[in-house]
């Protein structure tokens, strides 16, 4: 169990580093989602299932949905701008 926990903690650091180094925003959001899921398992190991449920629903679910929506909105604005420039 201790080894499993160490592996999870290590992959947590790897996820955080790759969030820092990926250029594409969509990829980094998905990596951030997996970071939250790993965190959820670690909380299960640390004997606090309340936190695990909340993190799975809130951190991995709602937060990443909000990030995706922001990205979509920004892309929509950018596309609109591009079409306007083409017309002009």
């Amino acid at each position: 169990m201790r080894l499993f926990e160490c592996i999870l903690l290590f992959s947590l650091i790897v996820c955080a580093m790759s969030v820092a180094f990926t250029k594409d925003l969509l990829t980094s959001i998905i990596i951030f989602m997996s970071y939250s899921l790993i965190m959820c398992i670690i909380w299960m190991i640390l004997q606090s299932p309340d936190l695990a449920i909340t993190e799975a629903a809130v951190g991995a679910g709602v937060t990443s949905i909000l990030f995706f929506l922001t990205l979509k909105k920004i892309r929509a604005i950018r596309k609109e701008e591009g079409s306007e420039q083409e017309e002009g």
Partner: protein, 129 residues
Amino acid sequence: MDVSLVEHLLLNIEETVSIVLFGIGFTILLLHRNLIKKIMGMNIMDTATYLFLASKGYITGRAVPIVVDGIQDVSAYINPVPSGLVLTGIVVSVSTTALMLALTIRLYERYHSLDLDEILILAKEEEQI
């Protein structure tokens, strides 16, 4: 002296990892110019703090603080106080994230850029006009 320091860090591995994560989040917050990346760095800092708190409440070999079979002995359960604190923290961090993302959308609508430096330059030019 040095060896015992590293050993101690390995014994406290959750805290060590949470400090490293905090540092990574802080670095993202300072070095990345993209606003969405900055918000992610902020979120990583949040979770690192929660990991630190939760690991402080953990006691080896004890169970979840849910009373089973009426056993109400202190030596059977882990510390419930950090769990309660972190539970409230997680939900608050969602609402701050939503607020920051909304501000980002408004900034993009205004300046058509996600780069903080560019936004600052544009804002300064606007002031001069």
